[in-house]
Symmetry: C2
């Protein structure tokens, strides 16, 4: 069943029971889409009739809308069964969303294990491995055989997340020793010991506070399907699985894009977010940038005498300033990615500076040349008259471009390092932020170069 | 072994043989790092001594530098064994990189199966599912039992990529019927038929030309570990696995970031790319943007009379123009992400326009208000004198900001739709591109508003 076909379901004419029956033959993601289109009463009715195992799987999908509200309206017993059956990470997320009163009612009814897992999982900060992980995993003592492990998996398997890998622990201390992939488990001789089926070397592992970008990098580097999260004493407290990493990366991609565009990250799809929420996410940064950009007016007021004498200089202000902003935004996007991919470390800032200065001078010289040619052509063909000192004006424009583009490259490339050093996300160095920084300085550079070249003639 | 410890390897003092022995105890990714730091002759020597199965695994990592050159310098027989043993997608990529002469020498020596797979894989365009897929997968007839399938997997298992899922095909027509995850295979009763162990409903599948962004979306939606690629007649021709999707997403993230920053995507890490390559990637777009931005000079020349009469207007040009660019870049980043995540379709453009116009007016009014307050405060406190018509100047600035920010939001949000409609990647709508578009129009709007409000007084 493809997504488009789901629309063939005429959900409104079916009874909740019939709908539940039909839904249970769909892929989970398609069923979630159908359910999300129902109103809340219909949704609750459907979940009353869905087979419980199937209902649990649907609640395990982060795409299900308002799971907390549905659970609040379902019969208490059914809600408790669903929460106990869900994978712990998702259950903890859903539980957070419910009303305080419902939580107080449901919490004592949950299994002690579910309660303990929820408590643990909700204690880690957003964006950390602890917040991504689930507490269900397979751990077996190193004395077991492959066959025992496989039998154990068949026994305890509760949710899809548990079987990506098994973890071998010391039978005495419970410390993590090895990881065994499901693949190796199947390929191994059932009578072999579990240690013989394990992967070479120390298992890859992370702490609960590891940043999700670092987690994603480890998954890519080692082609992992899951990674164990261990505490300081090397005891496994959970696992992060590849599907959660994919979701986290997608979220991270969006956040970085919004930040680079100069706004706060949205937490909802574009069409779902309220008008005033949207204004807040955009307006805040826009106002900050506007206040910063006001310094351009101050800078220009400072050069008011020059402006009055040489109106011709104002013609090139937007051109020159935007070139600084553009070269800065290029440099920023380069360095943000290089830092995110760990191609560069914080301490490499000076190597980057040593590259960006000649790069900026070369790019500025190229643009300067185009600018000078433009002035010559316009002047010689009579399209516009830049006055008797047009040659000096052309030289001013060319020289200012070299300085400003160089400054743009340098500022744009250093800003992500600086933000990183100050403990901020380097991705907060947005294109508009860099442009604003460069604009103000650009005006000062432009008029200083002009004063140098044109004093005694135009100025 | 963690990454930092790899530096403890004093690779220079070890013989290639001793090094090979040590390497084979590392995680593959760590071993690749150590090898990448060697010079080419040392690398070749190491690969002469590494156990062949381990060498094949290392060549399967896309992170290994210059695999083609290493294979060219290894004894022919060893190179052929490695190429035959590698997963087909990686082998095809590496083979592309070799010198024509070496390819001609090695190609006839490869197994016919390897040759056929390489030929097939190299025929799909970059960024398509066909280019991401590998041709090794497990397909079993629907008449088999679970036990037969597991035995078959143990028999044919060549590379790690094959076992994520098995595909059940019609014994007569070989058409894909069902998918069975490794997890379900293990949980099922070995004597059950394979069809009973399969996932509910039609298997999720894609065509070889499906875009990699769409592939990633399917993986996220259905929490897949692999997806079968089928031809028009529903015969499986390969599979895409989640590790390749993670790599593709990371590449896509970088490309989008570079594009949004206004430059061509880099194909190498920042510090590895040559100076002139870097100039080309940045200079091209910078020059195009510069040429576009030259229209601002033309626009200002057009308003030369107004400029001379009212120098005070020039003070606010950078402020007003950058506000248009900033609001445009916010809107663009919003819509690029919404399109990438399929929150919006092409046909939703008018809904977005209907949202962005009031959003732009509101944001513009906010900035306009700040601007007006600034002028009042500076005027009243005597910091700067905007002349006798300063009230009208303030009104001009405020009104122009409303118009320009609205125009910025509208242009920024419509540009990704337009690019998408014209067949380009919406992510090509870079922040500098939007800023340039808005700058030129911004000047026209500013001076038109000024002419309207100030004619008869300042103008």
């Amino acid at each position: 069943m493809t997504e488009n076909q789901t629309s063939a379901f005429d959900v409104k004419t079916l009874s909740a029971e019939a709908l539940a029956e039909r839904l249970s033959r769909l892929h989970f993601a398609d069923a979630v889409d159908v359910i999300n289109d129902l109103d809340i009463v219909e949704r609750v009715n459907v979940f009353k009739f869905l087979p419980i195992e199937y209902a649990i799987e649907l609640f395990d999908k982060p795409e299900l809308d308002e799971p907390g509200q549905i659970l609040e309206m379902l019969p208490t017993e059914r809600s408790v069964t669903i929460l106990d059956g869900m994978s712990a990470d998702q259950a903890a997320d859903v539980f957070q969303e419910m009303e305080e009163a419902t939580r107080a009612k449901l919490y004592p009814l949950l299994k002690p294990l579910t309660r303990a897992e929820m408590k643990k999982l909700s204690s880690y900060p957003d964006g950390s491995a602890g917040a991504l992980m689930t507490t269900e995993f397979i751990a077996v003592p190193s004395t077991w055989s492959v066959r025992q492990t496989l039998d154990h998996i068949r026994d305890v398997e509760r949710t899809r997340e548990t079987v990506y890998a098994s973890y071998v622990i010391d039978p005495e201390t419970s410390v993590l020793i090895k990881a065994v992939s499901l693949r190796n488990l199947i390929l191994a001789n059932p009578d072999d010991t579990i240690l013989n089926a394990a992967t070479n070397g120390e298992p890859i592992k992370i702490g609960p506070l590891t940043d999700q970008e670092e987690v994603a990098r480890l998954f890519r580097r080692h082609d992992l399907l899951s990674v164990p999260v261990v505490d300081e004493t090397d005891h496994v407290i959970g696992i992060v699985t590849v599907d959660d990493v994919l979701d986290a990366m997608t979220e991270e991609m969006s956040e970085d894009a919004y930040k680079f565009g100069g706004m706060e990250a949205l937490d909802k799809p574009y069409m779902d977010i309220g008008f005033f929420d949207m204004m807040k996410k955009r307006g805040g940064w826009l106002a900050v940038l506007f206040l910063g950009e006001m310094l351009t007016a101050s800078a220009m007021q400072h050069f008011e005498v020059e402006l009055e004498k040489a109106i011709v200089l104002t013609l090139f202000i937007p051109l020159i300033m935007s070139s600084g902003g553009n070269s800065g935004s290029q440099a920023t996007s380069l360095i943000i990615r290089a830092l995110a991919l760990r191609e560069l470390e914080l301490r490499d800032w000076w190597k980057v500076a040593l590259r960006e200065i000649p790069a900026g001078v070369s790019l500025g010289a190229m643009l300067g040349l185009i600018g000078v040619i433009r002035i010559i052509v316009w002047q010689k063909t009579g399209i516009y008259d830049y006055g008797e000192h047009w040659v000096l004006v052309a030289i001013t424009v060319g020289a200012a471009l070299i300085g400003i583009v160089m400054f743009g490259c340098l500022t744009g490339s250093m800003l992500p390092f600086l933000l990183n050093r100050l403990g901020f996300d380097p991705a907060s160095a947005s294109a508009p932020f860099v442009a604003t920084l460069v604009d103000v300085t650009g005006i000062v550079i432009y008029f200083s170069v002009a004063a140098l070249i044109l004093s005694g003639t135009l100025l």
